[in-house]
C-alpha cells in the first residue's frame, strides 16, 4: 500500500519560489506603517522558533503590519513575487506552526491588538488577531462576560493563534474549543483578497468556510479580524483538588463522574512530577508527593452546582481519594488554576529541557495508558511528567531530559514520538490541541490514509494554489518524511466501526 497518492505528491510539490531581494524589501516597506519592517540579522534570529525550540529557521524578513489592508498588501506582494510567508501570533505554539520558512517572510500580528467593538447585548466582540486570549475576557469582564476557551497559555497567546490552532483548554470539556466560540472571520487569502467567512449567527448558509479555516494552522491564509462569542459568567463556580494514591484511581474517578451524568466545567489531572514543578513555580497549594491529583470544577446555577459538588466529593472518596481540598474563595480558586496553567512552563524548575507531547486517548483507557507510559519511561531511563485534560482524554506527557547530555535529546524525542503513537494505538489521536505544525507532519500518515491526505491537500491547494502560505506544515512532505514511514493501518476507531472515512 502506498502512503501518498500521485495526486497528493503533485499537490504538495514544491513550486519555484522568488527571493527576498532589496527591491522586495522596499516594496514591503512602502506598504506597512513605519517600524513595521524587521530586517537586521540579529533581530531576525529572534523569530527563528516558537514555543518548540527544537526546530529553527531564520526568516529573510519579518513584517509587523498594523491593519488588515497592510496584511493584504504584504500578502499580495508575496503572491506576486512567489515569496512564502508564515503568520505568527505570540509564538507560543508547541508544534512549530509558526516556524519560519527559509527565504520566506514572517507576518507577525503582534501589533494588531485592538478590541474593535463589543456588543454587550448580543454577547459578541470583534477583535484584532493580536489581542491575547485573556485580554478579551479582561476587556469584557466589566459586563460580566468572558471568552470561554482557556488554553493554559491564555495570558500570552493570541486569538489569531487560537483560531489557527483551534485551541482548547481546561474548560473545553463543557464549553468546547475555539471553533465553538468564533462566529466570523475577516480573512486574507493567499492571493491577498480580503474576505469575510461566517456571519453574525452560528447558522450559516452554504459550506461553512469559517470552520475550514478554524484549526488550519495558518496554512490557508491570514486571519485579521475575529468576531467572538462571549458567555455570561456562571452564577456559581466550585473547585476542588483531590489527591489520589495513583493515576489509575484518579482515572476511575473521572469515568465515574461522567457516568454519573455530571458535566464538570473542567477535570484536570496532574501526576507527582507535575505537582512538584507547579508547586515550585507558584505555590498553589497542591500536595507535594501525592502520586496524582484531580482538579474538578463545576459551574452553573447555584443550587445545581452545590448538589453536584457533593456528589463529586463522594465519587472521589469512593475512588480512594486521600485528601480533598476545596477552594474557599475566588483567590484560592485562581491560585489552583494558576498552578495548573503554569505546569508546562514550570517544568524548567525540575529539568533543564523537556518535550511537551499532546495526544488524545479514549477516557476509558486512561489508567492503562498511563501505566504503559510509565513502563516506557522506565525503560528509556527518562522521567515523564503528566498533566492533562482528563475529562476529554487529552494527554500532555512531558518528557524531561538534559540537552547537555549527548544523545539524550534524541532519546527523549523518540520517547515522545513513541508516546503519541501509543495514543493512536489506543484508539486516540496524535494531537488534542497543540496542532500538527512542523513537529507532527510526518506522523500524519499514522492516522490518515492516502485518500484522506489527498482530500486535505486539495482543500489547501484550492485556497493556496502557489503553495506559499505556511508551506511544509500539517501535511507531510514526502521527501522530508521519508517515502515510507511505516504503512498506513486503519485507525482502531475505524476498524471498530465507530468512525468512517469518506
Amino acid at each position: 500500500m502506498t502512503t501518498y497518492t500521485e495526486e497528493y505528491r503533485e499537490l504538495v510539490a514544491e513550486t519555484p519560489r522568488g527571493a527576498v531581494t532589496a527591491a522586495f524589501r522596499e516594496e514591503v516597506a512602502a506598504v506597512v506603517s513605519p517600524g513595521g519592517l524587521i530586517s537586521e540579522p540579529a533581530q531576525l534570529h529572534t523569530y527563528e522558533c516558537d514555543g518548540l525550540t527544537g526546530y529553527r529557521v531564520t526568516p529573510a524578513l519579518v513584517v509587523l503590519p498594523a491593519t488588515t489592508e497592510e496584511v493584504a498588501a504584504v500578502v499580495r506582494l508575496c503572491a506576486r513575487h512567489r515569496i512564502p510567508f508564515v503568520a505568527r501570533g505570540a509564538g507560543t505554539g508547541l508544534s512549530g506552526g509558526a516556524l519560519p520558512v527559509a527565504d520566506g517572510i514572517v507576518i507577525g500580528l503582534a501589533r494588531m491588538r485592538k478590541m474593535l467593538s463589543v456588543d454587550v447585548d448580543n454577547q459578541r466582540a470583534v477583535v484584532q488577531p493580536g489581542v491575547t486570549n485573556a485580554g478579551i475576557s479582561a476587556a469584557v469582564g466589566g459586563h460580566d462576560l468572558y471568552f470561554a476557551p482557556d488554553p493554559s497559555s491564555q495570558i500570552v497567546c493570541t486569538i489569531g493563534g487560537n483560531v489557527a490552532e483551534n485551541s482548547g483548554g481546561a474548560h473545553c470539556l463543557k464549553y468546547g474549543f475555539t471553533t465553538n466560540h468564533v462566529l466570523a472571520l475577516t480573512f486574507v487569502t493567499p492571493d491577498g483578497d480580503v474576505v469575510t467567512l461566517g456571519g453574525d449567527s452560528t447558522d450559516q448558509l452554504g459550506p461553512d468556510l469559517r470552520a475550514v479555516v478554524l484549526g488550519s494552522e495558518g496554512t490557508l491564509g491570514i486571519v485579521t479580524e475575529i468576531t467572538v462569542r462571549l458567555l455570561r459568567r456562571p452564577e456559581a463556580v466550585r473547585t476542588l483538588v483531590a489527591d489520589f494514591p495513583d493515576a489509575e484511581q484518579a482515572g476511575n474517578a473521572v469515568s465515574d463522574l461522567v457516568a454519573a451524568g455530571i458535566v464538570p466545567a473542567a477535570v484536570e489531572m496532574l501526576d507527582e512530577l507535575a505537582i512538584e514543578a507547579c508547586e515550585k513555580a507558584v505555590q498553589a497549594g497542591y500536595t507535594l508527593g501525592s502520586p496524582a491529583a484531580l482538579v474538578v470544577e463545576l459551574d452553573g446555577v447555584e443550587a445545581e452546582v452545590e448538589e453536584e459538588f457533593e456528589r463529586v466529593q463522594e465519587i472521589c472518596r469512593r475512588n480512594a481519594s486521600t485528601h480533598i481540598r476545596i477552594a474557599g474563595d475566588p483567590v484560592e480558586r485562581a491560585k489552583v488554576w494558576k498552578g495548573r496553567k503554569a505546569a508546562f512552563a514550570a517544568m524548567g524548575r525540575i529539568s533543564p529541557d523537556y518535550f511537551v507531547q499532546d495526544g488524545v486517548i479514549p477516557r476509558t483507557k486512561l489508567g492503562s495508558t498511563l501505566t504503559r507510559i510509565r513502563e516506557m519511561s522506565d525503560a528509556a531511563g527518562l522521567r515523564v511528567a503528566n498533566v492533562f485534560h482528563a475529562g476529554d482524554g487529552n494527554l500532555h506527557p512531558l518528557v524531561l531530559y538534559d540537552a547537555a547530555v549527548p544523545g539524550q535529546a534524541e532519546q527523549a524525542e523518540h520517547l515522545a514520538t513513541a508516546i503519541v503513537e501509543l495514543c493512536v494505538e489506543q484508539g486516540g489521536s496524535i494531537t488534542g490541541e497543540h496542532g500538527v505544525g512542523s513537529d507532527k507532519a510526518c506522523s500524519m500518515v499514522k492516522m490518515f490514509g492516502p485518500d484522506d491526505l489527498t482530500v486535505m491537500a486539495r482543500i489547501r491547494a484550492a485556497f493556496d494554489p502557489q503553495g506559499l502560505c505556511n508551506p511544509g506544515k500539517v501535511l507531510p512532505t514526502p521527501r522530508l518524511c521519508g517515502e515510507r514511514p511505516g504503512p498506513y493501518r486503519p485507525h482502531p476507531l475505524e476498524s471498530a466501526g465507530i468512525i468512517e472515512r469518506l
Binding site: H45, C49, T53, A90, G130, A281, V282, G348, Y354
Partner: protein, 472 residues
C-alpha cells in the same frame, strides 16, 4: 570635572574579546551564564508584562527575545553592534519578567551580566557619552545636586521656566534635556539645608537599632520623606542611625552597567556602615534597596569585601518590610481617602515586596488602599531610563497615568521618587502624591495631608486633561 570621562573607567582589565573563547561576543569577565540562559524554555509567559513588548510587540524587545539575543551572543552568531546593544539599552530593568516567569528564569542576573559587558566592549556615540557622563557626574553627588536644585529653583522663580514654555522655546531643546527639564522636581529651599541626624533615639522602649540609608536624590529633593521615615521609625520603637559619611549607594551606576563605579560606591557604603552596630539597614527608596540587597553578589569577586558585602545585604530591608515585621505600636489617626498604591518595580518585582507596603498603609484608619490596573507594567521611570530614552518612557508614563486615573483616587502612594516624578509629569492636574511613610507619619501625628491638599486645590481634576490625551 573629571567625571565626564568616567566612561573610560568602565573598562576593567579583562581578556580581550575573541570569538571562540566560549563567551562569543562577550569578554570573560562574568559573561551571561549558559546555565541561566538555558533556563528559558521560550514559552513567552513573560511577554505581556514586558513594557517594551507592550509598546512595540517586537520579539527582540521582549524578555524572551533578549535572552535569545544573549544566547546568540554567547554563540558568537551575531556581532556586538548598535542593533544588538540597542535592545538591551531599551530594557527598563523593571524585572516584571522575573515575576512573570514560571520557569524561574533569573533575568535580573542575566541583564546585570550583560550591561557591564556592553559598557566595556562597545563605544557609545559622543553625545550619548556626554549626556550619560553628565547624569553620573550629577545625581550621585548630593552636594552637586543641591547646587543644581538651587539653579532649578531660580530658573523657576525668575519666570524663565514659564517663559520657555510660553514661547515654545523649550521644544527646541533636545528630547533628553526636555526630559531633564520636565522631571526636575521643585526643591523646597528650606529642605536643602536639612540633614538627617546621625542618631535619633527611639520613642519609648527601643525595639530595634537600625541603620538608615539617606539616598542622594532622596536627601536633596525628598528630604521630607527622610524626615518622615525617621519619625515613623522612632515612633515605632527604632533607634535610627544615619552615618553622616554615607554617599551614593551605586544603584544608578549598577542599573546602567557601570560596574567599576557601582562597586566602588558599594564598598564605600559598606565602610560607612561598618562603624555602626545595627540589626537592620533600612532603605526608603526602592531602587537603592534592591541594589543594597545585591551587594553580596556584586562584590563576590572581591576577597576583601565579599563576606562583608554578603553580611551587609542580609541586613537590608525596605522600610515597609521592617514596619510590617515590627507591627504597629504608635497610635494612628484616621485619614479618610481613597489611595491608589503603585508598586515600584524595584520594590515589587526586584525585591518581591508587595503586601508589606499595603499592609502598613492599611494600619491607617479610614484609608482605602486600591490597586491599579496593569500594576505590573513599569511607569517608564526606571532609574535614568526616562532621561536617556524619553520617548518610550513618555508612552509608558501616560499609560500608567491612564490606569491610575481609572481607579479615581484621591491620592497616590509609591515607594520610589523616580516613579513619583514620572507619574506627576504626565498627571493631568493636581494629585497629592506620597511615599507610604509620609502618610504613616501624618497619621501618627494626627494630620490629614490628603484633605489638606484637596482643600488647597479643589478636587483633583481627574478629567480635565491639561496634557494631550494619552493614546491608549
Amino acid at each position: 570635572m573629571t567625571d565626564i570621562s568616567r566612561d573610560e573607567d568602565q573598562r576593567v582589565s579583562v581578556q580581550p574579546v575573541a570569538i571562540g573563547n566560549g563567551a562569543g561576543v562577550f569578554d570573560l569577565h562574568h559573561p551571561p551564564s549558559d546555565e541561566l540562559i538555558s533556563d528559558c524554555v521560550h514559552c513567552g509567559f513573560c511577554l505581556p508584562t514586558c513594557p517594551t513588548y507592550a509598546l512595540w510587540g517586537e520579539e527582540m524587545d521582549s524578555p524572551r527575545g533578549r535572552i535569545y539575543l544573549m544566547k546568540l551572543g554567547k554563540e558568537g552568531k551575531v556581532p556586538l553592534d548598535d542593533t544588538y546593544t540597542q535592545h538591551f539599552d531599551m530594557c527598563l530593568g523593571c524585572m516584571a519578567c522575573v515575576t512573570a516567569c514560571p520557569s524561574g528564569v533569573q533575568y535580573d542576573k542575566l541583564i546585570e551580566a550583560v550591561r557591564p559587558q556592553l559598557e566595556r566592549n562597545r563605544r557609545r556615540s559622543l553625545t550619548d557619552r556626554l549626556f550619560r557622563g553628565m547624569i553620573f557626574a550629577l545625581f550621585p553627588y548630593p552636594s552637586r545636586l543641591r547646587v543644581a536644585a538651587v539653579l532649578g529653583e531660580l530658573y523657576r522663580r525668575l519666570g524663565l521656566r514659564s517663559l520657555l514654555h510660553r514661547t515654545g522655546l523649550v521644544s527646541l531643546l533636545p528630547r533628553r534635556l526636555q526630559a531633564v527639564e520636565a522631571l526636575m522636581p521643585p526643591a523646597k529651599l528650606r529642605h536643602l539645608a536639612t540633614r538627617t541626624p546621625a542618631v535619633t533615639l527611639a520613642v519609648g522602649t527601643t525595639r530595634r537599632r537600625v541603620g538608615f540609608l539617606t539616598g542622594c536624590v532622596q536627601r536633596v529633593f525628598f528630604a521630607d520623606v527622610n524626615q518622615a521615615t525617621v519619625r515613623v521609625l522612632t515612633a515605632e520603637g527604632c533607634e535610627v542611625v544615619a552615618p553622616p559619611t554615607q554617599r551614593c549607594c551605586g544603584a544608578l551606576s549598577e542599573h546602567a552597567g557601570r560596574e567599576p563605579e557601582a562597586l566602588d560606591r558599594a564598598r564605600g557604603l559598606i565602610d560607612a556602615f561598618a562603624e555602626v552596630e545595627v540589626d537592620t539597614i533600612v532603605a526608603n527608596v526602592a531602587g537603592c534597596g534592591s541594589t543594597l540587597k545585591e551587594y553580596g553578589r556584586l562584590l563576590r569577586d572581591d576577597p576583601d569585601y565579599a563576606d562583608r558585602a554578603a553580611a551587609f545585604s542580609a541586613k537590608v530591608q525596605d522600610v515597609s518590610e521592617l514596619l510590617a515585621e515590627l507591627g504597629p505600636v504608635a497610635e494612628r489617626h484616621p485619614i479618610e481617602a481613597r489611595l491608589a498604591y503603585h508598586d515600584a518595580c524595584h520594590l515589587g518585582h526586584a525585591q518581591g515586596v508587595r503586601s508589606q507596603p499595603r499592609d502598613v498603609l492599611r494600619t491607617i484608619p479610614g484609608l482605602q488602599v486600591t490597586d491599579i490596573p496593569e500594576a505590573e507594567i513599569c511607569c517608564g521611570s526606571a532609574g535614568i531610563y526616562n532621561l536617556v530614552h524619553p520617548e518610550p518612557a513618555e508612552e509608558l508614563g501616560r499609560r500608567k497615568v491612564d490606569n491610575v486615573l481609572s481607579v479615581k483616587p484621591d491620592a497616590l502612594a509609591t515607594a520610589n521618587p523616580g516613579c513619583l516624578l514620572q507619574i506627576r509629569r504626565y498627571w493631568p492636574g493636581e494629585l497629592p502624591m506620597f511615599h507610604p511613610v509620609e502618610l504613616l507619619d501624618a497619621s501618627i501625628r494626627g494630620v490629614d495631608p490628603i484633605a489638606a491638599a484637596t482643600a488647597r486645590s479643589g478636587r483633583p481634576r481627574l478629567d480635565a486633561r491639561t496634557a494631550e490625551p494619552g493614546s491608549f
